[in-house]
């Protein structure tokens, strides 16, 4: 099956999602647990074999090691594994692909699914397996579409070739986005042109997710649910519900541009109790400029308090929140030792509280927040908000965190759970729980709190898209933006003319001619922006490409695994590749042409050792500075 397709055209040989909760008893057939299997044409026997064996071994290993399995390698395939709740994901690739890349790919895939569909368990309760199978297939093909071999190694954003584009156009795009943000309901946006990023305000990960929908609407495929086209804007505007993780939302809200402005407008009336009004951070924010970053950063750490400790450690903002370490540890303490009364409150009336939360949220998101607080009656909330001086979002995030802990404590072994390292216990415990006692879905999205073990703490937002031919303006907006006609019109009309102009300009730019095999090959990966610059001739696979890709793949894994490694030259009889990296970038360089003559013995005249200086000079004209 897998052999029918070109091995290099795609990364994934197998992908499946297996729901262990459906196969509990001896008599339950394995096939009941298979939620999705790629390639779909795989015979069911083979599907059952792979799912059954891998899930079984995965569970056995995770029991032995008290930690979820991460990779299962076979002689011909390597599988990245994710185990969460009773779900078991496996992504099988050729063994040549670096393990770090496979794992990253799987994480991306799952994140994509959650971005558009919300928590997995809930999606499978609300939608048919077939519908969701189509979703998985879509994301899978999107992530692999047009990928060169290098993009198997680096998960990168496709951007327009900035060397071909007038920088003023990029500036213009950035200005359009900033203009849109003047509307307080707009969180952040990006502008895409023919499936490539022109400008973005979002993190690379989030931009990547947004782009899936763009390519979707571009190909005019039908989305089964959640999409609504507004006829009032001549069919060029569409929107869909998306789900952001708490850290993603925090990142957006921490954007230095005008966020304070938006909350000022939005909140005074609806959040009268928010202590942030008197918070110390307020004083520093009298004037609002881009250089205002530090104070906004300190504001950021409010929401970060509400995130679970392990999230904080993963987040790039860790250093910022370190400033707040007393508060941080306080929140950790909270999450580990919830007060007894809050426990009781949850186990008695979990569903009703949730319902209320849901309702209040759907009524009015900002109003709802304060309501949650008053209902919550748990002292934790109060403490949090006092301590944080948190604005609405902060406290709101706190609810999810709190719920996550509570759902863990429903377990009979609750004392044990609290004692254990929260990183391990939280995931596994809620895993059991979700499988056994998840009540049937009561409400449509946005969001079921019972699922909210911290990673499931997904916050519904709306993705707004305005298409002008090949150009798309994508904005992440507050859910009620779509019902706020004034805001919508304001955004639409303020950007329409500029978008048309930008589109017209971009259209005239011819894509740079694919250069033939030059005297050298290079790849430059910007780890911060997740962009890749290369002169590698795509898929055609020149004589020098294959060795270059192989070396790059090895070196990239090595760089990933060895933090102190700065540069490396590797060489065999025919090729030599130089790799160097800093915190922000990785660069790989290979000199083509047959000037390599050496017997392998150390020789300072060996041309391999002149690669670093050559790379430095040659790559300057590609905008890569290695000095």
């Amino acid at each position: 099956m897998a052999e029918l397709l070109q091995p290099d055209s795609r990364m994934c040989n197998y992908f499946f999602l297996y729901d262990g909760s459906k196969v509990r008893g001896e008599a339950d057939p394995t096939r009941d647990g298979i939620c999705y299997f790629f390639p779909e044409e795989t015979p069911l026997d083979k599907q059952e074999l792979l799912c059954g064996q891998l899930a079984g071994v995965g569970r056995c290993v995770s029991e032995l090691s008290s930690s979820p399995a991460r990779t299962l390698r076979l002689r011909r395939n390597k599988f990245a594994i994710r185990m969460k709740d009773d779900f078991f994901w496996a992504l099988g690739c050729s063994v040549d692909v670096p393990t770090v890349s496979v794992s990253e790919f799987l994480d991306q895939l799952i994140d994509l699914f959650c971005f558009y569909n919300g928590p997995v368990r809930q999606s499978y309760q609300l939608n048919s397996q077939e519908t969701l199978a189509a979703q998985w297939a879509r994301y899978l093909s999107h992530l692999q579409s047009g990928s060169s071999e290098l993009s198997h190694i680096f998960s990168c954003l496709k951007t327009i070739d900035s060397t071909n584009v007038d920088p003023l156009l990029l500036l213009k795009a950035a200005l359009i986005l900033q203009a849109c943000q003047r509307c307080p309901l707009v969180l952040a946006g990006c502008i895409l042109f023919r499936g490539r990023v022109v400008s973005t305000q979002m993190s690379p990960g989030l931009t990547m997710k947004v782009m899936v929908h763009e390519s979707e609407t571009y190909t005019k495929a039908q989305r089964p649910n959640g999409t609504s086209a507004s006829s009032s804007f001549s069919g060029t505007v569409s929107s869909t519900t998306v789900f952001l993780t708490a850290p993603e939302l925090q990142d957006l809200q921490s954007a230095p541009v005008d966020k304070g402005f938006s909350s000022d407008i939005l909140k005074p009336s609806s959040c009268p109790t928010t202590p942030q009004r008197d918070g110390p951070s307020k004083k520093t924010r009298l004037s609002r400029t881009l250089s205002d970053t530090p104070s906004t950063e300190s504001q950021v750490s409010n929401p970060s308090l509400s995130k679970p400790p392990q999230k904080a450690s993963l987040s790039p903002r860790l250093s910022d929140s370190d400033v707040f370490s007393p508060a941080l540890s306080h929140s950790a303490a909270n999450s580990l030792n919830p007060s007894p009364q809050s426990l009781r409150f949850l186990s008695n009336g979990e569903n009703t509280v949730e319902d209320e939360v849901e309702e209040s949220r759907s009524r009015d998101s900002t109003g709802g927040r304060s309501q949650i607080r008053s209902e919550g009656d748990g002292s934790v909330f109060e403490e949090d908000s006092h301590l944080n001086g948190g604005e609405g979002e902060g406290a709101f995030g706190g609810v999810f965190e709190f719920q996550a802990v509570e759902s863990g404590n429903e377990q009979p072994h609750d004392d044990k759970v609290v004692e254990e390292d929260s990183r391990v216990s939280r995931g596994s415990v809620s895993g059991h729980k979700a499988g056994k006692s998840d009540p049937p879905p009561l409400l449509p999205p946005p969001h079921r709190l019972s699922d909210a073990s911290e990673e499931n703490a997904l916050i519904p937002m709306t993705l707004y898209m305005h298409r002008v031919k090949g150009l798309v303006l994508a904005l992440l907006v507050e859910p009620h933006f779509m019902s706020d006609a004034t805001s919508m019109e304001e955004v639409y009309h303020s950007s329409l003319a500029s978008l048309n102009g930008l589109e017209a300009h971009l259209r005239t730019i011819s894509p740079g001619a694919p250069g033939g095999p030059g005297p050298y090959t290079f790849a430059h990966f910007d780890c911060i922006q997740s962009t890749l610059t290369t002169n590698l001739s795509g898929r055609s696979g020149g004589a020098w490409d294959q060795p270059f890709v192989r070396a790059t793949s090895l070196l990239h894994s090595h760089f990933c695994n060895t933090e102190t490694l700065q540069e490396a030259i590797i060489r065999n009889a025919s090729t030599a590749v130089y790799g160097t990296r800093s915190v922000a970038q990785e660069t790989y360089f290979q000199q083509n042409g047959g000037s390599l003559r050496n017997s392998g013995i150390p020789n300072h005249q060996d041309s391999a050792f002149s690669l670093p200086s050559k790379a430095r000079h040659r790559l300057l004209k590609h905008g890569v500075n290695l000095l």
Partner: protein, 676 residues
């Protein structure tokens, strides 16, 4: 948290080794799942129950023509799996001290040690299973304990000894003394033993003297085949296991390096724990008498802990070990031919090893030849070529095997089962009306192979040989040999013990010649030898690298560099330079002919991640590499060298490369080597 286990396809535990942490972890888990039970079940039962799903799933996947090679978990536990014939090896690490490659190497080394101990019996899964899992509990525990301690000795060496890091033998560099010793071994020792009537039909083929793990002198008799590096390294592990010398600790203080006081003090300084655990009680006072140093190897201690419930009496260390080593003859390579290994302790840290040939070792060669013939036939039949060849080579085998069976009968070896299977085989293969050489013959090939291994086992592994005469060097002869060498080396022994710690030091490399050079290792892969400055990093000894953390850091870097270079070598890269932190690392692999002329580099094979580890101890990679390279150089002796260097990062690259070049050209030429 470490573990290594061997299981049969039916998930039967054939061997296991765990460290204390892993054992506790297993007991905790098993206890958790069996809360109602009374007390812990036997550890062996728990571990086999917990691993059973993995083992069974492995077999299932094998039938689907794919099999697991490794697992990792989010908390960075690593599992490596590998199947040798019918035995599945699983190695686990949960403390981050070993990487996947290390675990795979451990598995291969374990397999190598089992091959050395059981020879051709390892070729039959069924027989090996019986050997590893003897019915008699005491016998089984004794064997397991022996294997566990071998594994621990190996792990200890690999983590601390540079020669086991790169898997090449390190010689003591003292040309005059080496020469004297070789001459002594040849002219006096070996000659005397081989002409003695007390040698019980055995013949000394190889004799060598080890100072800790380093080779002082090695002599092979004229009619002996070359002892492969792989076997030599395995024998050093066995010798170390018998007489462990904790190389890191027992360093004589400098003030006693000369003078007579040394000879008095060494005995107490070099206290080495007896391998026998039976004298546990007597050990304590001895330990107390050497208050400064804790000489009990922690690994050994652990082995005792993990099997503390057993009271197993190991065999007398003076009895020879049966070892099965590779023999190359004009007509081909015979792996796993029987030898006896006599390990005679001269002084603590200095050991004389004698390898002798069995009187009936010709039988082993015949058995192997027949076994190989049936294995080849089986392979051909599996590939569906049986019909075309009509088993031409088998006609030759037929007459030879008939003759062989008669010889066996004459020597009183039980061979009726082999006889029966062979008759049946002949009926099927050669009779006119029979099925001939078709796939139906495959099970009979397998059966023949098993029977041949059975004969081999009967001849060389069972305690009573074909005749009941004890075939070994008499104790008197052994004692005399020991005394002879002791007398010869008496004046040198203290020097040797110091020398083994400071074989080469970086001080001998003038700073003016090699500024910024921190460390290097140079390996001659054709002869399996290495040269490297000593890296002793104990509290007491101050090497040029300084003490404590810095030296430890360099050592760790060196170890990780070797594993990195192997990874790139596996992927076909023979040159590597790395700038890592404050250091600059270089690695080169190249070929020369015998006259030292550098040969053109050639792309070397790219291998999958789960291929055999690169090294010489198990599955000699370099031998294959040399064979591969020599294809283009027929009639020329090709040599393969490796050089690893560590420099300070501030040194300009050109200078570093010049150093490498100088080292590469100088090291193996005694006249120009400043060290020799």
């Amino acid at each position: 948290m470490k573990c290594l286990l061997i299981a049969s396809e039916s998930a039967e535990m054939l061997f296991y080794w765990t460290d204390l942490e892993f054992q506790q972890n297993i007991q905790k888990q098993y206890g958790a799942s069996q809360e109602e039970g009374h007390g812990f079940p036997a550890f062996e039962d728990s571990i086999s129950t917990l691993f059973a799903p993995i083992i069974i799933s492995f077999s299932t996947m094998v039938t689907e023509a794919d099999s697991y090679t490794s697992f990792t978990t989010e908390n960075n536990h690593i599992y490596v799996l590998h199947q040798f014939d019918e035995c599945l090896y699983i190695a686990v690490n949960g403390d981050g001290e070993e990487k996947e490659e290390d675990l795979r190497r451990k598995i291969y080394v374990m397999n190598k040690m089992i091959e050395v101990l059981f020879g051709m019996v390892t070729l039959s899964g069924n027989l090996l299973r019986k050997e590893l899992r003897a019915r008699d509990t005491e016998q089984r525990l004794r064997l397991w304990k022996h294997l566990q301690s071998l594994l621990e000795t190996y792990s200890h060496l690999r983590e601390n000894d540079q020669s086991f890091l790169v898997e090449a033998v390190e010689r003591l560099i003292h040309p005059t003394l080496c020469e004297q010793c070789i001459e002594f071994l040849e002219r006096r020792l070996v000659q005397q033993i081989n002409s003695s009537v007390e040698r019980g039909g055995e013949e000394v083929l190889h004799a060598f003297i080890l100072v800790h793990t380093k080779l002082l002198a090695f002599y092979s008799s004229r009619n002996a085949s070359i002892l492969s590096t792989s076997d030599l390294l395995a024998l050093i592990i066995m010798a170390q296991n018998m007489y462990p010398s904790n190389v890191d600790v027992d360093d004589p203080s400098p003030e006693v390096q000369s003078g007579d006081s040394l000879s008095n003090s060494t005995d107490s300084i070099f206290y080495t724990p007896e391998p026998s655990p039976t004298d546990k009680d007597s050990k304590k006072p001895v330990r107390g008498s050497t208050p400064v140093f804790e000489f009990v190897d922690p690994d050994i201690q652990m082995a005792e802990d993990s099997l503390s419930t057993l009271e197993v009496y190991p065999p007398d260390p003076a009895t020879p070990h049966k070892v099965f080593l590779e023999v190359s003859q004009k007509d081909g390579l015979y792996p796993m031919m029987p030898h006896s290994m006599y390990c005679l302790k001269l002084w603590p840290g200095i050991t004389l090893v004698l390898l002798t040939k069995f009187p009936h070792s010709g039988v082993a060669m015949s058995v192997y030849t027949f076994w190989e013939a049936f294995a080849k036939l089986e392979k051909r039949l599996n590939e569906g070529q049986g019909g075309s060849t009509r088993g031409q080579p088998m006609h030759e085998v037929r007459s030879k095997l008939d003759k062989f069976l008669k010889t066996l009968a004459l020597n009183g070896i039980q061979s009726s089962q082999l006889q029966n299977v062979w008759t049946e085989f002949k009926n099927r293969a050669f009779s006119r009306g029979g099925p001939g050489f078709s796939r139906d013959l495959i099970p009979w090939c397998k059966n023949m192979k098993t029977q041949l291994c059975g004969i081999y086992r009967q001849c060389f592994l069972s305690d009573s040989g074909p005749d009941d005469t004890p075939r070994r060097l008499s104790p008197g002869l052994r004692e005399r040999a020991q005394t002879m060498v002791q007398e010869q080396l008496m004046d040198w022994k203290d020097f040797l013990l110091v020398k083994s710690k400071r074989n080469i030091t970086m001080v001998s490399y003038p700073l003016s010649d090699f500024p910024g050079l921190v460390h290097f290792i140079c390996v001659d892969r054709s002869s399996g030898q290495m040269i490297a400055p000593s890296l002793s990093i104990t509290e007491r000894t101050t090497s040029e690298l300084g003490k404590g953390p810095v030296a430890q850091y360099i050592k760790n870097k060196m170890w990780s560099l070797v594993s990195t270079t192997r990874h790139y070598l596996q992927k076909g890269y023979s040159t590597l330079t790395l700038r890592d932190g404050d250091f600059y690392f270089c690695y080169f692999l190249w070929f020369e002919n015998e006259t030292g002329f550098k040969l053109e580099a050639k792309d070397i094979p790219i291998m999958p991640d789960d291929s055999a580890p690169i090294g010489m101890l198990a599955q000699n990679y370099y031998r294959k590499l040399l064979r591969y390279y020599s294809k283009n150089h027929p009639g020329e002796t090709v040599k393969c060298y490796e050089l690893l260097t560590v420099h300070l990062g501030v040194i300009p690259t050109e200078i570093i490369l010049q150093h490498c070049r100088q080292l590469a050209s100088k090291l193996w030429e005694p006249s120009r080597n400043p060290l020799l």
